[in-house]
Subunit: 137 residues, 2 copies
Amino acid sequence: MDTPAKERNTKQKRLILDCMKSSGRHMNVEEIYGIIKKHDEKISIATVYRNLRMLEQQGVVKKLYMAEDSPSFYEFNDNGEHTHHHLVCSRCGAIIDFEEDLLESLEKTIEEKKGFKIKDHRVVFYGLCRECREAEK
Amino acid sequence: MDTPAKERNTKQKRLILDCMKSSGRHMNVEEIYGIIKKHDEKISIATVYRNLRMLEQQGVVKKLYMAEDSPSFYEFNDNGEHTHHHLVCSRCGAIIDFEEDLLESLEKTIEEKKGFKIKDHRVVFYGLCRECREAEK
DNA sequence: TTATGTGCAAAGCGTTTGCACTTTA
DNA sequence: TAAAGTGCAAACGCTTTGCACATAA
């Protein structure tokens, strides 16, 4: 049997969770840290990283795969109710959520053809958002 | 008018390209460096990074988005003939190419609903490869 | 009271850069 | 011979870690 993890409910963790929940959006660690610092002057960014890592392992929070060379993004995990994907505008950097899972048929095909059992997917689309398309005209 | 880039055909660049072409697979920078070092004892990893960056900007090589906290992968770009996606086995770490683009209908929907013009996509599926599924039984 | 979490500063790791030197064209 | 590329070592940015101290249970 696994020793159950005895996890503590610290002020810092509460702040991080509140921040993630109330934002409801993807945020990078620097942003989260900035917001929390207003409520706890002394908090260390190492604590933010540590808590986010734990929360991710528990599935409370999701770590996102955005552009390669950018800091990590996190968002509150709505318990897999509906997966969403991200659209990243390559002109203005906007990140737009796209709430729809049309990947199912693709995933079925992959399982059939490759014998690969898909558990998760990371899908990011890059392109131009509506505003930038208009601005470019 | 843009000043045309006067690019040089160095031994180092040739080695890198040969390595990428003949492998025909995704490789991380450390791997590429290791292989090239057999042919050029003195090459610096900074040169590998520099060349890969330039080759990527020219579209000769493609930078891949695998797991978040892992080093960058590159692969020779077959000129967009057929895009392929990657399946990453979360048990053994195998990376399997999946040559098929069933994303088109999804992309069409996104353009209609969001006014977002998709130029590129990064799609990675995580799960269990055939071997690991069998091993787990 | 004690295991767990914290803050701090230092280290880690992949990647980039400044600079003097070499090479390509 | 001049512009472009190189090797080296130092710097970078994001993230993790070691350690002494603080805190939740």
